[in-house]
Point group: C2
Chain length 207, copies 2
């Protein structure tokens, strides 16, 4: 019955189980007992590795955040690709991995998961904004963008798009389309490029 593993391995097992459960049943909807059953360990073991349920969430958030950060970083550093395209690809990294599926997104935005949502968002934002800020900066020095505050431009665009395209608001398809167009329009203003010049490239970001 008793199986001993290295701490790192157990921790990851617990995080794997927690990820699936949180994503399926929500954070509040998942009890530590559920995690125990899924991993097949005893209560004490869980609390040997993590000091609380929230501690598990924090570790999980960090793991996901790091993964996103890494893939965004990889894209951002690929100097062969034009800056604008790199930005768009970076933004794509913010979306949850497709193999988990769309259920996740719905779950994360249920009110019961406010805490999870908030932590995810914060972790994502703090990691990816500097990367995109750097890309905008690159664009500025290439002369294709114009802004005195590249980093804060990134902050504004990313953090707004996180809240606006979140399913937070229930909206019809036309509203969504309008919101997207408005977003692109204002992005052009913020980055100081000609009106309409980003439309073709950016429209693909939302699909």
């Amino acid at each position: 019955m008793r199986v001993v593993k290295e701490a790192e391995e157990r921790k990851n097992e617990i995080l794997d189980a927690a990820e699936e459960l949180f994503v399926t049943k929500g954070y509040d909807g998942t009890s530590t007992g559920d995690i125990l059953d899924k991993v097949g360990i005893a209560r004490g073991t869980l609390y040997y590795h993590f000091k609380s349920k929230e501690d598990i969430l924090d570790a999980l958030t960090e793991r996901i955040g790091n993964a996103m950060f890494a893939s965004a970083k990889r894209v951002a550093d690929d100097k062969k690709i034009p800056v604008l395209e790199r930005i768009i690809k970076c933004v794509a990294c913010l979306k949850p991995r497709s193999d988990i599926g769309n259920e996740v997104i719905k779950q994360v935005h249920k009110p019961q998961n406010a805490l999870m949502h908030q932590k995810m968002e914060k972790s994502i934002l703090s990691g990816v904004i500097p990367i995109i800020g750097g890309l905008i900066e690159e664009g500025v020095s290439e002369g294709i963008f114009t802004t005195k505050y590249p980093l804060y431009a990134a902050e504004m665009l990313v953090s707004y798009s996180q809240t606006a395209f979140d399913d937070n608001f229930e909206q019809t398809e036309e509203e969504t389309m309008l919101r997207i167009k408005a977003f692109i329009y204002h992005t052009e203003k913020i980055l100081g490029v000609a009106e309409g010049s980003l439309e073709d490239k950016m429209i693909g970001m939302f699909s």
Copy 2:
């Protein structure tokens, strides 16, 4: 011992107590028992008026949202004042009433209050954005602003400022100042006004 009151009155008593407790100890940190004690009623009474703890939060959020909405609306309709000033005053309505004090803000942003935070924000945004959107529209037809999407401009500015000036990020004073300047700069871009023209008026919003 037994005191009978009208339902509306009791409900408000409960909401008053809940507001103070949520604000002091946080939503998760407040037990229904705390509320019971504070109001001086029994368990069953609470659940006679509200169907769950979250239901209390919802009612409270709505009450606060409505108050903000009303005062913003009043400001927005005062046609004697120039549009830009009205916008600034509306934004000021978003800040919590000063008589509750600053402790509130800190509480709301603690992780334990994610749910409260989220509900407040959503309620505020959905109520006030259309008002400010209308004001921007007014500005556009007066010829002082230029944007094809006044409503979404409002959405972007308000929702970004909510997340950015939230104590969410811990930041030094210089960072805050820089962020404010950047915000004003980008606001000018979004509203299509001359660079620097909003600085004097807007800087007062953050104090």
